[in-house]
């Protein structure tokens, strides 16, 4: 009967997915499905290397993130076995493990020579119920870029806290250059990648005590309210026009066009803003940690890795591919070919060419990134199977408050109630 339901799901989404081809693995082929990011694009370009080294043909499919979600749901619920290695964001891994979509790979990972070279924090993020479920290849973190010339002219220092940021923003904001832009569109990977940096700085939290296992929603607190008011004030009063619908692309464009002084963003976007090849204001732009608050500094973190679907037909080949994909050699090639600095295979950072490349972008870049990663907490966004649903619900309420559809008090109250509903409390 379960099989029947799975078949029904596959059938139900079949029409939508009729355009995607289904390749059934041959004996010496691995089918890899990932969504577009610098690393995945770089990896796809190296597919021939893998075949030359191992004799195994790698079909690396890099697709859009929205299509990805549908594609894997279809494949995993239908147990079609057409994916051998899958892009596994840490934010999804709990949900996938709960749904029995992934194969535990503790033994396979233990056998990999590269294991000791991979950063421990990101590696542990994929440990659930004592098993390893994926191998990380990147850990993006939250960074802040700022226009040195604008701060200098106004005679102000780089803000260390969000409180400082409010004061600085008030001084530098004008019609031509807004003070700051951050992601605002609703979604667990959009405003909920950025907002928790403000929330955690003020001591706000998602649950009563996440680390002790008390998952009573606690987002409706005075701390989170204060943080939300700061976030709203920054974007509504000191942000560019239309900031309430900004996603990372709009933040990036605004900074590249010199329309904002501060951007708080993920590593990839932040790097592009200090890269002279990508932004005409790069030489005037500095990079540092995102601001903190009374409860400290909590840069965002997003880990991405590679996992093996439970339905994969030939897990040994899959493991072989993953080992190659996260090896120091492959990672170094990608770090050099793509804007990819947030690798989790540590020895890549020792490569002279890699150091040269990223120091040229900005001398502080690699050091600031390492410091931010060091400060970031693994459960910045709670590692729960329900997180995508929770993040969506909270994000929608935060966005509604930001755009004046409801008061911040009501938004947090609604968010907490919806969290309870989702968790069945």
């Amino acid at each position: 009967m379960k099989k029947f339901l799975s078949t029904m799901i596959s059938a139900a989404v079949l029409v939508g997915a009729a355009g995607t081809s289904t390749i059934v693995s041959a004996a010496d082929e691995v089918n890899v499905v990932m969504f577009g990011m610098p690393y995945t694009k770089g990896l796809a370009a190296l597919a021939d290397d893998f075949e030359a080294q191992t004799g195994i043909k790698a079909n690396i499919d890099v697709i859009g993130q929205d299509v990805f979600e549908n594609r894997i749901t279809l494949s995993f619920t239908g147990k079609s076995g057409d994916i051998d290695v899958v892009h596994t964001p840490v934010i999804q891994v709990q949900r996938w493990v709960s749904a029995n979509w992934l194969k535990p790979i503790t033994a396979e990972v233990d056998a990999m020579a590269v294991k000791s070279d991979i950063m421990e924090g990101p590696m542990d993020a994929y440990k659930i119920k004592g098993e390893q479920w994926a191998v990380p290849y990147m850990a993006a973190t939250g960074l802040m870029t700022y226009r040195k010339d604008i701060l200098e002219e106004a005679g102000v220092e780089v803000p260390q806290t969000w409180e400082d940021m409010l004061a600085v923003a008030a001084k530098i904001h004008n019609d031509d250059t807004a003070a700051i832009a951050m992601r605002a569109v609703p979604g667990q990977g959009f405003n909920m990648f950025i907002f928790p940096m403000v929330m955690r700085a003020y001591g706000g939290k998602f649950f009563e005590d996440y680390t002790a296992g008390d998952l009573t929603p606690a987002i409706n607190s005075p701390e989170t309210l204060e943080a939300l008011n700061v976030y709203m004030k920054l974007l509504n009063e000191y942000g560019p026009q239309g900031a309430g619908n900004f996603n990372f692309a709009e933040v990036q464009a605004a900074a590249q066009n010199g329309q904002i002084a501060f951007a708080v963003e993920g590593t990839g976007i932040a790097a592009s803003l200090v890269d002279p090849e990508k932004s005409q204001f790069a030489d005037k732009t500095g990079i540092t940690l995102p601001p903190g608050g009374p409860a400290g500094r909590s840069p965002a973190i997003a880990v991405h890795g590679l996992g093996i679907p439970a339905s994969a037909k030939n897990p040994e080949l899959s493991a072989k591919f993953i080992e190659w994909a996260v090896s120091s050699e492959t990672m170094t090639k990608i770090a050099l070919a793509q804007p990819f600095s947030n690798f989790t295979t540590q020895s890549v950072a020792k490569n002279a060419d890699v150091i040269a490349k990223y120091s040229k972008i900005h001398p502080d870049f690699l050091a600031v990134q390492a410091e931010a990663l060091n400060l970031a907490i693994g459960h910045y966004r709670p590692l729960l199977p329900e997180w995508p649903a929770l993040g969506q619900a909270i994000g929608e309420n935060i966005n509604a408050a930001l755009n004046g559809l409801m008061s911040p008090e009501d938004a947090l109250e609604a968010a907490e109630q919806e969290m309870k509903d989702i968790l069945g409390q």
């Binding site: 139900a12 989404v13 949900r95």
Partner: protein, 298 residues
Amino acid sequence: MTAKSTKQVSATADLERGYRNMVLPAVLAVGIFAIVPLAGMLALSVSDYHLLRGTNWEFGFKNFVRLVSDKRLMGSVYAMAVLSFFGVTAQVLIGAAIAVGLSKIVGRWRLGRVLFLLPYAVPHVAVALIWLSLFTPTLSPINAFFDLFGVTVPSFLTTQNGALFAIVLADTWTNFPFAMLIILAALQGISPDLEEAAALDGATRIQTFFYVTLPLLIPAFLLVTLFRFIDSLKHFPMIFVMTKGGPGRSTQATNYYGYIQTFQNSNVAYGAAIAVTLFIVAAIISFYVAKLNQRVTS
């Protein structure tokens, strides 16, 4: 019955059998690619399947009962109704106006028709990206232009009505050519004799249009409205790219809400119930429009 006519009958039967065989692959394709997934969706909608919690094998109409009391669903129906009503109305009116204009153009300039078809050929995600940048004040050339005169164009995507308007506009831009095409074809099917006859009877051009041409176009209007309406229930790419359902939840049309329930919240069964309800609504409306069409044509 004479031998000759029997032969004729059997020849017609043969011919009909031949045609039936020709239709068979299409029937099979529809059966496999439409009926089977629909049946699957129906089965899911009465189940309790949840991606994380699995299923307890309880079947019933719980999901449909929940639909009635779901405030978010009601909000999504409002967004969908606004998007569909204004979008379809604008597409049909603009499409009709351009079709009437184009039908009067003869000679070389007829090629200009192709120009109006271009928006229809652009993929929806690309259309959405174009309009997203036009509606993002920091990127939009429109805002930059008015800035020159010190005029600030309001930000549309951060208000409920503004965001709905932006999506209607993007949807209209890409879909009016479809309405135009169908109405143009219908216009060309109207014999010029009728207009000439009306002119001979002393009717003005405007009278001719309203009393002769327009009534003859009603079947085409019904057809194009129906097609566009059914399609408009499936709003997704514009919302996904332009607003992500925001601000807040104001542009979460029902289809988008179903996506969130299914893929973000893992409520597969509930998402299926939303989809089934949408399908039933579309089916009922299609049925009545088809009947209306029959009445008009007969």
